[in-house]
């Protein structure tokens, strides 16, 4: 009899919200995070994040005052940590867009508990990424007419529209705009919830303005859902296009090791891979600090581990393909660059990348690892490190061996390189913690949507 009580659907699809949650308990639980005082851990992490962010601003000011020579970029390695970090941060953003857009269109209901935070992560990651090309110009206040085709009196010429760097400007700015809009539109009903719960008049006014007069009427919901669907449709191609165009920065050049058609798909897979790793890193921490185990269940985390396993394996396959094509091309420069990648001066970076990106995710074949928080947290950190090294390996190994041995070199970061990179992590964490503190970190209205289904299933109402 007890066996009959277990709905077979529950077995296959474990509930996405546990702990006997009701509509009002979900609202209370998520709103309370923004209403009460943050927990002790929040202050501890903030205490680390803010000084790091300050260090970032210090390093950038130092760079503007002294010129980009303060970075380790040299000849032949003209692109160093700056573009490595740029690609890394842009890649991290991709999980947010994938979760919010593609999983939405595929009706993957498990996205509801994680999409809000992942989208916020996207925005903050893109903000961190944008810093690098902006400051690589050395004069960021002029970048507006250097990067964007803006008529002006100073340059009297247009950008090179055939350059993938130009396409990158459009790809990333479109990405940032659409992601911000998508995030904000998704927030509106929840902001209205916070407005209605607010007792402090200032808070009420701020959330009142931000919620754009949301009343939750049927017609408003109808418009809202249509707008959300359209934005999801707009974001979907961006998941693929942004990192494809980032990869063109390399692929359209004639550098051995860069000039390959595999780059766009391989970069997109890597971006999703690193993005999910960052979501897992942050969400395991956030759910522990705020006690959100009933909303971000093991089921959610396990699904993300599966995505990491799939994309990590694609990335590993791409590494293998690169080597095969280098051999198959019979081009001595191509062959040299790949042998040099694995056994040359940057072999340490290459094997770090292989261990973190190819070997680490393979643990996710086992359910034990997919459902263990410490295991997935550790592995996600490894993947974050590995994906950073992937970009570094691609950039540094191809550049440091030029065609003439007289122009061979080696890249070594300076303290400004390190300070800027660690600083952007500080900025990212600061923004993310502020988001956790002041905005609903989980989409209240969307979670209620899956709760509705669940409550009815539990009651035995047929669908």
């Amino acid at each position: 009899m007890a066996d009959l009580a277990i709905d077979p659907r529950t077995e296959l699809n474990p509930p996405l919200v546990t702990g006997g949650a009701t509509y009002s308990s979900v609202t209370d639980q998520i709103s309370a995070i923004t209403e009460g005082k943050p927990p002790k851990q929040w202050y501890v992490v903030m205490g680390v994040a803010i000084p790091l962010a300050m260090m970032l601003f210090g390093c950038l000011a130092y760079l503007v005052a002294n010129g980009i020579g303060v970075w380790g970029n040299n000849s032949p390695v003209g692109w160093g940590w700056d573009i490595t970090n740029f690609v890394w941060w842009i890649g991290i953003g991709h999980a947010g867009t994938l979760i919010s857009a593609i999983l939405f269109l595929f009706r993957q209901k498990w996205r509801t508990s994680i999409n809000r935070a992942a989208e916020a992560m996207t925005l903050f990651a893109v903000a961190c990424a944008g810093i690098y090309p902006l400051f690589h110009t050395g004069r960021p206040w002029r970048a507006i007419y250097w990067l964007f085709p803006m008529p002006n009196e100073l340059l009297t010429m247009w950008q090179n529209f055939r350059s993938p760097l130009m396409w990158d400007v459009f790809a990333v700015s479109t990405y940032a705009t659409v992601s911000a809009l998508f995030w904000f539109v998704g927030l509106v009903p929840d902001l209205a919830t916070l407005r209605d719960r607010a007792t402090n008049p200032v808070r009420k006014t701020i959330f009142g303005i931000l919620s754009l007069g949301w009343r939750g009427s049927a017609s408003q919901w109808r418009h809202y859902e249509l707008a959300y669907l359209i934005l999801a449709g707009l974001s979907t191609p961006l998941v693929l296009s942004v990192h494809s165009i980032v990869s063109f920065d390399f692929a359209t050049s004639l550098m051995p090791g860069w000039h390959t058609t595999i780059f766009p798909p391989y970069f997109v897979a890597g971006a999703v891979f690193s993005g999910f790793a960052m979501v897992v890193t942050l969400m395991t921490l956030a759910r522990w600090v705020y006690g959100l185990e009933n909303l971000i269940t093991i089921k959610h985390l396990e699904n993300m581990c599966k995505v990491m396993l799939a994309t990590g394996t694609i990335v590993g396959f791409a590494y293998g393909t690169e080597f095969f094509i280098a051999w198959y091309s019979a081009n001595q420069y191509e062959r040299f660059i790949f042998l040099n990648r694995a056994f040359g001066p940057y072999a340490w970076a290459y094997w770090t990348m292989i261990s973190c990106n190819v070997i680490a995710p393979q643990f996710f074949w086992f359910k034990k690892f997919r459902t263990s928080i410490p295991a997935m947290f550790t592995l996600s950190i490894f993947i974050n490190i590995g994906m950073w090294f992937e970009r570094f390996v691609i950039i540094a190994t191809s550049l440091h061996r030029d065609f003439l041995p007289s122009s061979w070199g080696y890249f070594q970061p300076t303290w400004v390189d390190i300070g800027t990179f660690v600083g952007t992590m500080g900025l990212f964490l600061t923004l993310f913690l502020l988001f956790l503190r002041f905005l609903p970190a989980i989409a209240i209205s969307e979670v209620k949507g899956v709760l509705h289904h669940q409550i009815n299933t539990e009651k035995g109402v047929a669908h």
């Binding site: 100073l154 010429m157 407005r195 007069g213």
Partner: protein, 215 residues
């Protein structure tokens, strides 16, 4: 629940947003205008350690530019003359003038007079002085009527747009090489036509790609 906002709030918010956008736009335009090299750099007239007058020497006395600035058609750099050049004349002319005290000291000690550079280009610009003079770009095109200046001042913005303007359409600034230092040269006929003929004859094609100046 009582309303948080008045009925006019939307209108006010929109007006405020419009005002902010307009203010920022106008502020940006004003700042852009003020920071333009035309405003920022032209008219730069540093005080020189010795009150040397180009108006007197080059204008009234008619000394050719090349007498003192003798590297301008031979070198990438337009050198400031050394003290010995001054003293060629000033050992005999006004040899006791208190105004020349610093020049005499410099002559005696061998320490150069600390002249202040007027026409400064950024260090990421590779400017070749002789290339310009040799094809017949006159001093006056970039430096103005120095022969009428008591104190030298910058008359052109020396901005990239200004460089490109001439590189794209140089004819009006090209003249026969022998008149390069004749700042008051007035050709018979249209200078642009003369320049165009010279360009054709000499095969002058000023580059307008990035690496011409930024290497």
């Amino acid at each position: 629940m009582s309303a948080i906002f008045s009925k006019q709030f939307d209108t006010k918010l929109r007006l405020a947003a419009g005002a902010i956008v307009l203010t920022l736009g106008a502020g940006g335009a004003v700042l852009g205008y003020l920071l333009h090299p035309k405003q920022l750099d032209t008219g730069y007239t540093p005080v020189q350690p010795v009150a040397y007058s180009h108006k007197l020497h080059a204008g009234n006395l008619g000394i050719d530019c090349l007498y003192c600035h003798y590297t301008v058609d031979k070198s990438n750099y337009a050198a400031v003359p050394m003290t010995e050049t001054c003293m060629n004349c000033h050992v005999r002319v006004r040899e006791k003038s208190p105004k020349l005290q610093l020049v005499r000291e410099s002559y005696a000690t061998g320490q150069p007079v600390p002249w202040v550079k007027v026409h400064r280009l950024p260090d990421y610009v590779y400017f070749n002085h002789q290339a310009h003079v040799k094809v017949g770009v006159s001093c006056v095109s970039c430096h103005g009527r120095v022969d009428q200046m008591a104190e030298v001042r910058q008359v052109q913005p020396l901005s990239m747009a200004w460089c490109l303007e001439c590189h794209r359409n140089p004819a009006a600034n090209i003249r026969p090489a022998e008149y390069v230092t004749k700042l008051d040269w007035k050709p018979e006929g249209d200078p642009a036509e003369i320049g165009a003929k010279l360009m054709k004859a000499k095969g002058i094609k000023p580059p307008d790609n990035c690496s011409a100046c930024h290497r």
